[in-house]
Subunit: 294 residues, 4 copies
Amino acid sequence: MTSESEGMNRMRKRLHEILENVSPHDRAIHIFDVFMITLITLNVLVVTIETIPGLHETYLLAFTIFDIFSVIVFTIEYILRLWVITVSPAYQRPVLGRLRYAITPLALVDLIAIAPFYIPLLLPMHLIDLRFLRILRLVRIFRIFKLSRYSEAVKTLERVLYNKKEELAATFFILILLLIFSSSLIYYAEHDAQPEKFSSIPDAMWWGVITLATVGYGDVYPVTVAGKIIGGFVAIIGIGLFALPAGIFASGFAEELAQRKMQCATICPHCGKPLSPTYHFHPGETVQDTRKQE
Amino acid sequence: MTSESEGMNRMRKRLHEILENVSPHDRAIHIFDVFMITLITLNVLVVTIETIPGLHETYLLAFTIFDIFSVIVFTIEYILRLWVITVSPAYQRPVLGRLRYAITPLALVDLIAIAPFYIPLLLPMHLIDLRFLRILRLVRIFRIFKLSRYSEAVKTLERVLYNKKEELAATFFILILLLIFSSSLIYYAEHDAQPEKFSSIPDAMWWGVITLATVGYGDVYPVTVAGKIIGGFVAIIGIGLFALPAGIFASGFAEELAQRKMQCATICPHCGKPLSPTYHFHPGETVQDTRKQE
Amino acid sequence: MTSESEGMNRMRKRLHEILENVSPHDRAIHIFDVFMITLITLNVLVVTIETIPGLHETYLLAFTIFDIFSVIVFTIEYILRLWVITVSPAYQRPVLGRLRYAITPLALVDLIAIAPFYIPLLLPMHLIDLRFLRILRLVRIFRIFKLSRYSEAVKTLERVLYNKKEELAATFFILILLLIFSSSLIYYAEHDAQPEKFSSIPDAMWWGVITLATVGYGDVYPVTVAGKIIGGFVAIIGIGLFALPAGIFASGFAEELAQRKMQCATICPHCGKPLSPTYHFHPGETVQDTRKQE
Amino acid sequence: MTSESEGMNRMRKRLHEILENVSPHDRAIHIFDVFMITLITLNVLVVTIETIPGLHETYLLAFTIFDIFSVIVFTIEYILRLWVITVSPAYQRPVLGRLRYAITPLALVDLIAIAPFYIPLLLPMHLIDLRFLRILRLVRIFRIFKLSRYSEAVKTLERVLYNKKEELAATFFILILLLIFSSSLIYYAEHDAQPEKFSSIPDAMWWGVITLATVGYGDVYPVTVAGKIIGGFVAIIGIGLFALPAGIFASGFAEELAQRKMQCATICPHCGKPLSPTYHFHPGETVQDTRKQE
């Protein structure tokens, strides 16, 4: 019984290594990764090309078999991830740890990836109409986010985004502020001249966002002098809206880079004592120790 | 009498703390903030959706009651802010301090937020026509800027914008220069081919700003060879116009970050004496003191 | 005779101070600056609004008088600048110095600003047709660049542009390369489907530049599958084309900032000896001297 | 025989110097460079203007002679490059070295530049149709990339791009992810309202890429409320997609600059010993040596 449990533990550890992509030079991990990336990519491809008129009907059987196969693989993967996650010290506890893991973004993506298959089986018949099924099929496109697990550089980007989340949120807040403000102005300037295109402020926001983001489809644009002056200023403000996150990301990447370089501990070349780099220095940390040694 | 005045003073200090959002962990401040943010957001929502055809007439009473309630709250808030501001050392003097506070951007926004309600009551009847009332209703959208008081990250953005105001103003000046210059060129190139779309240089500026900001609605564009060559160069210059503020903001955020990190005083690891960080060092400041101690 | 020449010299020096904007706190300089900035701005305004149909004919006399007045002022300014420039050590020599000054960008702008007035007077009658006169009137818009002399921040931008001129030229070169390349591809993809819109590669470049700069008027766009795939990639490359100069400017402004901060000489807090900041340190410069003193 | 081989070797070395652009002050190199840049530029010009209707037929002989001349020069250049490359230590071996050189990007561009001329001569007649010949003529536009060999600043850009290739690839990966995701969403929102414009998800990707890159031709745009909300978010995400590479390039150029400045070795101002700059310092490298000397 104990040896069986030990075997289980060893297997769980090994599976955890494979699933969580611990060592990059392990062959089994590499094979598993390539298989999963291929399967996810094929899934995205199928969800995408399935919508081409005629294709869905012609290859219905092939698409259905591939979908069932994918859901089986993703379900096994999801269950295994839940089973082995207790190996990780952060999710050690059998029930609470697994629940806490289940609500992490990556685990939620894994759940959303398989849910569209099981929901129609669980719900009462009369709730399932064509419209609902179509939304469920749309949800399968979320499988694409399963890919983000496999790129190191994407994780760097995510870290930079995370570090700068407050500045980015503030930029988004200012964008919303400017959007509402400029849509209100343009509504008052253009409503009389183009009542059907600027019928209300929420309606004018479509013009606002398309102009602030400098997309400019050309389906709505001001025609009055006042509207053109407002539109010109909104377009110029749009330039600034591109510049703000660019500046935020620039400082974010510079920080990321500085931190990577800073990880090598520096030693004073005069005396061999540890020397905190100037702009990471916090008084009363290593320095106090150094002084005591003197 | 004195104790009464003391009570007044204590109350004024407390109100100042709440209104100026001094401590982030105070419960009364938190409740007041949430209430104000909700009220401002609802106001912006009402001003916005009110313009949807039919909605204004249907919910006229609700909208009117809500507007009167908001104006009362904002008026009380404005008067209280003026009353308690003398607590702050910068605006200590009863009359002059209050006047100086009243012309700060945030106080002006507070005044503009309530003004549209009182102006029709103060002005003689014959001056108030429908057009004027509509502009007054538009002014209520300025209430949205009351929100900027409550976000820490927005204040960081404002600081970066303020620090870089000269470079940004120069960028704007160059934009205006390029706008006038390219509009003049395109006018001479396109006026004969499209006299109604490029009727004059001020008219051509609409094309200029929409092209420089890379919006490109497609309502006006050059059709002659000369006009297309000018348009191509203007579009390329537009790329540079996005890059300039992006570079300015990037250095602005990097500076902000460096300053935050630099706030921790650094001590020389060799001798324990305070050591100004290299690139904040101004000769004859702390150094002179250090030498005297020797 | 000598005292007269001395008086001339003193006057020349004073005029040089005023014209070249040496001291910012001098009252005469300030008055001269405000007068010139106002005159240039009015000139730009006149050149611009003159093109509004009807306006030119109505105010012909006023516009002509203003133009003659401006040309007289600008001519006197130009002659005085040429006269006093020998005060500056860089252009000391009476003839060669003045000639060398005359070909600097700012002096050329000053010349171009007055040339349109004198050229018709100097040329034989039969060369002057309406078309030629119109181009001359267009040239007056160059007067706008006389303004760039008066802004300190614009000079900073110019310095950053100058420091990064090689990287920016390389970006422009790559843009031209990509423009020719993508226009050739789209021509081969779209020529058969839209022969009148993509009639030749030079013609397709209009599409190329408007797409690479993400303007997208919508007058020409690919309709074939191959053309849309090429167009999609060109649009994505356009994103990179915005990012390149943004990154270049960001490092340019950071450099500018670092240099400004570095100008304050740093002294070693331990011993009061001059201490070169770490990343400006060149071996064998100040250090050698310091060691000799020891 | 030996002296002949020695002469060959000397000639090979000299040719290698000229072809690989070793010294910038050599006159022969300068003349060769100017000749090649002119020839390549003329080639690009010819390939481009040849497509103007009528021009090809009129100047058929001139174009053909110029093409044959160019191919002869480029062929001789290619053969000479292959012959002299063994002078370079990296490609020393006669056969393997030359093969390894032949697959470098610059050598491949050289091959592609001449291939379109030789392929029709080598292939059997029945394989060569008009469509195939047209593609071959298109391939000649690749000659433009031969120019990239001659610009120092382009090499700097290439180095920055190379250093940041992982972050840029991750940005591209995220772009593809967002493109597929937003195209799927808009397909489900707009398919019913505009079945011919959003006929399938791959079809909707044309809208997706044109919106994410903020080009916005205006040939396809959402018309439903759900579609407009999705479109608005996609446009806002487009702003971020511009900011990401801008931030990456900004840190890339800053790094490039820092490295160039860091190349001057720094000496400790206190004791004259070599001092590694703080943020390039790796423990156990130069420091260990320094301590041993003590």
